[in-house]
């Protein structure tokens, strides 16, 4: 029987002797051998349609939030980067970079605060630029706290202190190009390259046009009552043309064309689209019916206009309850296409934007479920990808 481990002292003596005598390593050549190896670092291909970013807030250890890079076709983890303390992530629409908004303190839980927008090379996952922000909102991460213009030239960072504001970062120069004060309004829903819209506390929208280094703000009239039936922040925008479908707690969908002159269409009911009665709102808090709920609870496939919404059965004020089904709806016809039963309740829904789209759901255990969005069939599951998977980001979204 072989002695294990090889005595280090002997090995050392051997190697030193080799150096001294100049008779180098002949002992090795006679044995059956595996090649000696060198350490290297994987470099990824350019971003593909099915390579996604998955945000993990790590609620129990929020200083160690992270973003996973995942090959959704293989169900394979490709790498990860830090997204510290309620970090957020947005991707260049062409996949040339992704940007992580994060917040650190120099001594972990104490010391100097720094808010950062780190630009990553999507092939090396190396930081290209580590931009210091004037601030960012510290809030459980939601997509619309950090967004990007359609051409990828501007990143919008929502901030709350000392005032509600949006920092506009030029991605070419990595400079802050503008601060837009928006007291009473929050988040950003970008429309093309021209600007973005925020939701205001009174149920109206503020539209911000960006021109030549200045911001012009217009306001819509209030179109919903935030206390009776608020619209979810987690409502999807087709960034290319600014079409947005604001989904309310009760399940109303407000088709909205965002611009400097935002137009809000008549709302339709998700439940009615499925052949049910429209659900009541806060006035009838005990009524149990199917309702939208979760965290990043909806996603839109741009090309087809299919809207995916996490749904559960419950009373009003269960708007953060994870969905037991995903309902696929056609935003043009206001019709239900399919109800997809989930193996585990999911607080999030994501989709890719290609012609053979994948859908993503998660569960409490941090599993990522990967679905064929065209058929509604589950393809694979990545067990415990992370702790708290809050949303996915796909190419072009």
């Amino acid at each position: 029987m072989r002695k294990l481990p090889t005595t280090l002292a002997t090995m050392t003596a051997f190697l030193l002797a080799t150096v001294a005598s100049g008779a180098c390593g002949n002992a090795y050549a006679d044995d059956p051998v595996l090649q000696t190896e060198e350490s290297d670092i994987i470099k990824l291909s350019p971003v593909t349609d099915h390579r996604i970013l998955v945000q993990d807030a790590v609620g129990h250890h929020a200083k160690d939030g992270r973003v996973y890079v995942v090959d959704a076709d293989k169900g394979k983890l490709l790498g990860m980067v830090q997204a510290a303390y309620n970090g957020n992530v947005v991707q260049d629409p062409k996949g040339r970079a992704f940007y992580v908004g994060e917040t650190v303190w120099s001594r972990g839980n104490r010391g100097d605060r720094a808010d950062l927008l780190a630009s990553y090379d999507p092939q090396t996952l190396e930081i290209v630029n580590d931009h210091l922000l004037p601030g960012r909102a510290l809030v459980t991460p939601k997509k619309n706290d950090l967004t990007i213009s359609s051409d990828g030239s501007r990143v919008y960072v929502y901030d709350m202190v000392p005032t509600n504001a949006v920092h506009v970062i030029d991605t070419a120069s990595h400079k802050l190009s503008l601060n837009v004060d928006l007291p009473g309004c929050a988040l950003t829903y970008p429309w093309g390259n021209a600007g973005f819209t925020s939701i205001c506390a009174d149920g109206s929208l503020a539209n911000v046009s960006l021109n030549a280094g200045k911001a012009d703000v217009t306001h819509t009239k209030p179109f919903f009552d935030p206390e009776k039936d608020a619209v979810f922040e987690h409502s999807p925008t087709r960034r290319t043309d600014g079409k947005t479908w604001f989904i309310s707690y009760s399940g109303l969908v407000y088709p909205t064309a965002l611009s400097a002159q935002t137009k809000i269409d008549t709302a339709w009911s998700i439940q009615e689209a499925a052949g049910m009665k429209a659900a009541p709102a806060a006035d009838s808090p005990f009524t149990v019916t199917w309702r939208p709920g979760g965290w990043q609870l909806s996603a839109l496939h741009y090309a087809t206009g299919h809207l995916f919404v996490a749904m559960h059965q419950g009373t009003f004020w269960t708007h953060k309850t994870a969905g037991t089904e995903v309902w696929e709806l056609d935003v043009a016809t206001h019709k239900l296409i399919r109800r997809i039963k989930l193996p585990k309740p999911s607080s999030m829904v994501g989709v890719t934007q290609d012609a053979k789209p994948l859908m993503f759901t998660s569960d409490e255990a941090g599993d990522l479920f990967i679905w064929d969005a065209t058929t509604g069939k589950m393809l694979r599951k990545m067990p415990h990808l992370g702790d708290d998977l809050y949303f996915t980001v796909a190419l072009g979204e």
């Binding site: 250890h61 303190w105 972990g108 104490r110 709350m160 000392p162 009473g184 309004c185 009373t315």
Partner: protein, 195 residues
């Protein structure tokens, strides 16, 4: 062991209602004139000083009303709420809480664990006490300075609104003004009746 330290200099001395009022003023201000200074969080301190302390009577001898005559619970959460164990998610005050209970993390219902500090700002919920048959305004004041206490989390969503309604939103890290903003746990502090 669980005595608060009156000489620590870190206790929250101002009457919490001042702060509620500040928040509400801010809320109004944000609406009435979106571009005015009143809309700024920085305005809290300034305007707080103008609002007198409301003389809430401390009726220590108050007895709960008889069960028969109590109003009905206004929400499914309230209908199942209990009033005895603040380390369980269905404790009545947790109708709109989100996070770790300070009562399970070394603090108390309205006390921060040692080594953390209560945020001077908070979101506000309206919770129904089934014992008194009465709803109260509850300030969910986060305790800050250590990362998540990591005991089982609770999520109450009665009246919880999105972050564009910050005063009623429980997603925000309510640690403004505490130095390090790292969130440890949440307390629920009674700040008034919701008549």
């Amino acid at each position: 062991m669980t005595q608060s330290d009156p000489t620590s200099g870190r206790e929250m001395r101002a009457n919490p209602l001042d702060r509620v009022t500040e928040r509400l003023i801010r809320h109004v201000a944000g609406h009435s004139s979106r571009r005015s200074l009143l809309g700024r969080l920085g305005a809290w301190a300034t305007f707080g000083a103008l609002v007198p302390v409301l003389p809430i009577e401390r009726v220590s001898a108050a007895t709960p009303a008889k069960a028969a005559s109590l109003p009905k619970a206004p929400s499914p959460f309230a209908a199942k709420a209990q009033t005895t164990d603040p380390t369980v998610c269905n404790y009545w005050r947790y109708c709109a809480i989100d996070g770790f209970l300070c009562a399970s993390c070394g603090g108390g219902i309205h006390s921060c664990p040692p080594g953390t500090r209560p945020s001077p700002t908070s979101w506000i919920g309206t919770c129904f006490n089934p014992g008194y048959g009465q709803s109260y305004l509850v300030a969910y004041r986060d305790c800050c300075g250590q990362d998540a206490c990591s005991q089982p989390a609770c999520l109450g969503t009665d009246g919880d609104q999105p972050s564009y309604r910050p005063q009623a939103n429980n997603d925000i890290i309510w640690c403004f003004g505490t130095g390090a903003l790292v969130y440890n746990c949440s307390t629920s502090v009674i700040v008034g009746n919701a008549s």
